[in-house]
Subunit: 343 residues, 2 copies
């Protein structure tokens, strides 16, 4: 036998051993480990598990090949805390304060004036347009690389006002388990957020295990320029794409080009994403996180009589549509055994 | 020992065996198989192989972790034939002829009139704006699903005027090998095309092994609507994004959010993509396909005195920039042992 044939034979026998080992490992893990330990037992947890079983059952009618298994997740209020304000809103407000010395006119111009005088009542009434002016003033006028650095530093040093921890520690442990469970079952997991795509990409891999290219979000226009002969992308004070409401379905088609099999949200801005996901064929899983646990996190609706806080609104109409279309509502109070990893 | 512990031990030993087997298999395969058999030996083929070795050498200074290995490929003229006209241009012209009975005014209105009277001289002079009018008239006004179906049928039934084969068979075998070779070495391979994103996604998986979400291209705006209570995305006669020239660097940042380590193009429209790729740190590979083989394919420049055909222009300035920046020019005549799989 030639030497390379011997090597091939050894390799072949080894591969058979490997296969047996993998089968045994899988069986052992399957019996010993619950992939969703931070979920309480019940129909909601069961809905996730049985969806995954259907989609991965090769002999079943709802089988989906691995490359086509897609799950999309809203971020704010679905994967991490959004109260009392989205982290990126906090970032924008901090940036206004930081940049104020270079903009004396902001002391007398809205929406900047309200931010600088910490007028919470006025800030609560900011329109979409006010927020867009704030984003343009704080998220543009630098290269993409400079922006990533600014966002990275803010995330490292800012703390949530109630939990006194970095925002990146305020992710929901049960949802992290769903992300991991789906990926372990051949799903590509995407974040589809109304927030800034470039902002979320700073930490998506580290925090959620989601690589930058699997973050779909809102964005500003950029221009290709040269600085000292080196190409840069400059962030312009001009909205390019708003990935919210209908924009989520449009963004999914634009960035992913495949219809998700599963989608997770928590507010009216996620409605079209869930509708779009639900309109596909085969097994479907649409879930909405309901914030009904003021002790461990927050409680807001206004669905089910929960207070209307103006952030991450879960209106009664969304609740009604969920019931009508068979979307599963996750009660944080009842279904989450644990909310944060550090609890 | 508990039974589950015994199983774990067997699994662990098996996994060690598996690892040894995989190492041996890899060594055996590496010695026996050339991953680029359709390339002639020489510095161009060597540049690809040594780039991959550098990026994957864990102990070397240019090592890149697998999740961050990104390669981007232009399509028309880089992965498949673009002469005498881009496939999607052919598709647009066929659509004009097909839709003409519903648009009697086209008989007297440019650019439709020239298309319908097969006035090749006039068509050769079509401006960007003429093409945009054609795209708006032929690529919009239907749902995304209906468009995919139209594109699928056209691709199945149309034939290239010279090679008398479906366009999807006119892919360059050496480039398919590069795509496969890079993927086998942990790269994510993207198509970054000036062509229509949704059009290319119809066949990207089947033809190139590139899934829909790894196709970045030009797009029209879409709107979210309901038809019989079911959500649809309607394609609007309005350009949303042009993924060409600076748009390729912008599109890479927007869709991928990571800078490529390697980029492949063939025309002036790929310049910024190669510059953007080249401006990163570590090992880089920038390549341009030069069409200099009129016998087996086509010859066009105008770089190096090749004829200027107006399609897929490789200007002398691009050649000069390539030489200055160390980009590698692939001569189809010298470097491609074989051009098509069916040769």
């Amino acid at each position: 036998m030639k030497r390379s044939n011997v090597l091939r034979k050894i390799a072949f026998l080894g591969l058979i051993g490997a296969f047996a080992a993998l089968v045994l490992t899988t069986l052992t893990l399957a019996r010993d480990q619950d992939p969703l330990p931070s979920w309480n037992e019940g129909p909601v947890k069961q809905a996730i598990v049985s969806f995954v079983q259907k989609v991965t059952d090769k002999s079943g009618p709802a089988y989906v090949p691995p490359g086509e298994r897609i799950a999309t997740f809203d971020q704010d209020g679905t994967l991490w805390v959004e109260h009392p304000l989205y982290a990126q809103g906090m970032f924008a407000l901090d940036r206004v304060r930081q940049l104020a010395p270079q903009h004396p006119e902001w002391q007398t111009t809205e929406p900047f004036k309200s931010v600088l005088s910490v007028d919470r009542a006025a800030m609560a009434k900011f329109t979409e347009q006010d927020w867009q002016r704030l984003i343009a003033a704080t998220h543009a006028g630098m290269t993409t690389e400079a922006f990533l650095q600014i966002a990275r530093e803010w995330l490292a040093h800012s703390r949530h006002p109630r939990f006194r921890r970095p925002y990146t520690e305020l992710v929901y442990q049960p949802m992290l388990e769903v992300l991991q469970y789906l990926r372990a079952n051949g799903f590509k997991t995407y974040i589809v957020t109304g927030g800034g795509q470039e902002f979320v990409r700073v930490y998506s891999q580290q925090v959620y295990g989601v690589p930058p290219e699997q973050v779909v979000g809102s964005s500003v226009a950029t221009s290709y320029e040269y600085q000292n002969g080196k190409p840069v992308l400059m962030r312009l004070p001009k909205v390019f794409f708003i990935d919210d409401h209908a924009g989520k379905a449009i963004g999914i088609n634009l960035f992913i080009g495949q219809r998700p099999d599963a989608a997770f949200g928590n507010s009216g801005g996620d409605r079209e994403m869930l509708e779009w996901t639900g309109a596909g064929n085969g097994a479907r899983l649409m879930m909405l996180v309901l914030h009904d646990d003021p002790q461990r996190e927050y409680a807001y609706g206004p669905a089910q009589g929960l207070p209307d806080t103006g952030v991450g609104r879960f209106p009664q109409a969304l609740w009604d549509e969920a019931k009508q279309r068979g979307w599963v509502v996750i009660s944080m109070k009842k279904d989450f055994k644990k909310i944060f990893a550090w609890e």
